[in-house]
């Protein structure tokens, strides 16, 4: 039976930016609700099973209870996989690696950019169906969770048929002291902090440099800033390298939800595919908006463009399926539908 992974990150959308910006809180009930809607979509597709991240807030178990309470879904083979009681990105990565090992066809994520980075790093070839569930969601775009579940289920049932709807993204590989550290899926920033602390970035005065792929002025964070500074880069697989300054060109940057703050730009230039950018300490490297590695003194980090993650186009899959079927296939477990 084809396997679909489901990783919902319990800690996302709760960090200090609730205080420093207008970031929302996604509480566990909302998170379980999203998971339940994903499962409803999955349950409608023929014979897939679900393996999910076991984390302490038990989002998927809650979701399964919600689904059962609706009394519309048949039994779904859904079981946890990977480390028990996962608490951090390492555990997410391990779960993702376990999914790869189990032969999963794709994985649905509900979290922020950090969650998707962890999934991609544990399973580099993963076909990801990302639902936005973090504070800044540069990587994931808004998709209805039920549709996402349905598309993931269809894809898993017949990956060949929907192969054209898998899109590869560009990422950024980071090496510190010559050792590969991580692949970021949106951006790498160097900030003046010497500590990981609350991990999030919110104070523009701490920004020193950033390398960003997939700039888009319509999303928050450094990707949004890059999209404003280099509007023609948006559809281009290249990256931009920003250097910040104490004064100089002043831009209103969308650093967080509801947080438009002035930043000073020293320069901004396109980074070509073969180029290596060197970011030097002291400072802290933040990947996709989270402080991750402290650079001491003049410790260098080298950034190169690299293959990012593989993303499933939900609308594309559903369209293709619709073109071939008069209506959605009713699978062996009957379901599908909204309200009474």
């Amino acid at each position: 039976m084809p396997i679909v992974g489901l990783i919902s990150h319990s800690g996302a959308a709760r960090d200090v930016r609730r205080l420093t910006s207008l970031a929302r809180t996604i509480d566990v009930h909302e998170r379980a609700n999203v998971a339940a809607r994903i499962l409803a979509g999955l349950a409608a597709t023929p014979d897939v099973c679900v393996r999910f991240l076991d984390e302490p807030t038990r989002i998927v178990e809650r979701a399964l209870r919600m689904l059962a309470a609706q009394a519309r879904a048949g039994p779904l083979d859904a079981r946890p996989l990977g480390p028990l009681g996962a608490r951090n990105a390492t555990d997410t990565r391990a779960c993702s690696a376990a999914l790869a090992l189990a032969g999963a066809e794709c994985v649905i994520t509900h979290g922020g950019d950090g969650t998707n980075r962890a999934v991609a790093s544990g399973w580099p070839d993963a076909v990801i169906v990302p639902l936005p569930g973090g504070t800044n969601n540069a990587f994931a775009t808004c998709v209805d969770p039920t549709a996402a579940g349905l598309a993931a289920g269809l894809y898993a049932t017949d990956p060949q048929r929907f192969a054209s709807h898998v899109r590869g993204t560009t990422g950024l590989s980071i090496a510190v002291d010559g050792v590969a550290a991580e692949t970021a899926i949106v951006d790498v920033a160097l900030v003046s902090d010497q500590w990981l602390g609350a991990r999030a970035l919110w104070d523009p005065s701490h920004l020193l440099e950033a390398v960003v792929v997939g700039g888009d002025p319509s999303i928050p964070g450094l990707a949004g800033l890059a999209g404003i500074l280099a509007p023609d880069v948006a559809d281009h697989p290249d990256a931009v390298h920003l250097r910040f300054a104490r004064q100089g060109r002043r831009i209103l940057a969308p650093l967080g939800p509801g947080q438009l703050v002035p930043v000073h730009i020293r320069d901004c230039r396109r980074v070509s595919r073969d180029e290596t950018i060197e970011l030097c300490g002291p400072g802290t490297l933040a990947f996709d908006g989270e402080r991750q590695v402290v650079l001491h003194d003049t410790q260098p980090a080298r950034i190169r463009l690299a293959a990012g993650a593989r993303v499933l186009d939900v609308a594309g899959v559903l369209r293709t399926h619709a073109r071939h079927e008069a209506a959605l296939t009713i699978g062996s477990r009957q379901t599908i539908q909204g309200g009474p």
Binding site: S10, G11, R14, D15, V16, R18, L19, T20, T25, D27, V28, H29, P56, T57, R58, I59, R87, N88, S192, D193, Q194, W195, L196, G197, A198, R199, H206, V294, H296
Partner: protein, 327 residues
């Protein structure tokens, strides 16, 4: 981000607290062996220690001034010390001496101080409404002081917690609600007591910011608390911070901890936030081995002096039990 001085100060506070409580671990057992008799020895009664929870106190209280009011819990030592409550007077109170904060009438769960403004309650969650009142007074008198209420994850299921969040949000008061989630309400784990996973989510119910600090990290706590305190100080209203912290010892001293395994306890000890923080400071070049040793020695002698003061202080006259019921 904290500057280097602040980081060293936070470290020093954590070391002070740890030293103070390690001394109490020893003293508490005086006269209580071989058979544990809770009434025996120089320090009778229950003794709730905070080892492992020092980051909460150090990271929050470093943002406070003495006129900011704290309400704490039955486990109050770390916050009292970090807020500047006199260690000698505190020790004397714990020994039940005349020279103690409450002249021996309060004890370890009932430490009160005017300057710095500090109080605590032995009743779970019931110290929270008082913090709302402090903030109400500050607002009415135009003071930009803030009130900080510390409570455990067990308290967040009590009505007083919810009433307090509602009132503080309704009246837009400068309260920082700090939930110390050490996962255990005596023997009941949070997952058996709380319908939702993170108490920070409960802020949403009252339309105030809720922040989760997942890893008991003093710098992360510092950053979040700094934002929350600043927000309260500028009149922007209350916030809720939930900190996942670790209770390294039993609920109280003498707790056989039958509800958790030795492995679980060892795992907590292995991730002792104080050890971790010291390592990080060393790696950052902020604390040499010698400096660390000096901090420990200085704190130890401060604690020794406080304990000596407490030991040598007179017991209160028995009939003074009848005083102080009324002002």
């Amino acid at each position: 981000m904290p500057d280097n001085e602040t980081l060293r100060e936070m470290h020093r506070q954590m070391v002070r607290i740890r030293n103070f409580e390690e001394a109490l671990v020893q003293i508490y057992m005086e006269g209580k062996t071989p058979a544990f008799d809770i009434a025996a020895g120089p320090v009778p009664g229950e003794m709730h220690l905070s080892a492992g929870q020092e980051p909460v106190a150090a990271g929050v209280c470093v943002h406070l001034r003495p006129t900011d009011a704290i309400t704490a819990t039955h486990r109050p030592h770390h916050q009292a010390l970090a807020h500047g409550v006199d260690m000698k007077l505190m020790a004397a109170e714990i020994f039940g001496k005349q020279t103690g904060l409450g002249h021996g009438k309060g004890g370890h769960m009932h430490l009160f101080s005017k300057d710095p403004a500090f109080g605590c309650s032995g009743i779970v969650a019931e110290g929270i409404p008082t913090a709302v009142g402090h903030a109400l007074a500050f607002k009415k008198t135009g003071r930009d002081d803030v009130a900080v209420s510390f409570f455990g994850e067990g308290a967040a299921n009590q009505g007083a917690f919810h009433e307090s969040l509602n009132l503080a949000a309704l009246w837009d008061l400068g309260v920082v609600f700090v939930c110390e989630d050490n996962e255990w309400a005596i023997s009941v784990p949070k997952e058996k007591a709380t319908a939702i996973a993170n108490n920070s989510d409960r802020a949403s119910a009252y339309g105030i910011p809720g922040v989760l600090i997942p890893d008991n990290d003093p710098v992360a706590i510092y950053e979040a608390a700094g934002e929350a305190v600043a927000r309260a100080r500028r009149g922007a209203g209350p916030s809720l911070i939930e900190i996942k912290t670790d209770r390294l010892l039993g609920h109280f001293q003498g707790d056989a901890q039958l509800y958790r395994t030795a492995e679980q306890i060892d795992a907590l000890t292995a991730r002792d936030a104080l050890v971790r923080f010291e390592g990080q400071l060393a790696t950052s070049g902020l604390l040499t081995e010698q400096q660390a040793a000096d901090v420990w020695a200085a704190c130890r002698s401060e604690v020794d002096a406080a304990i000596e003061f407490a030991r040598s202080s007179p017991l209160p006259a028995p009939e003074s039990a009848l005083d102080d019921v009324f002002a």
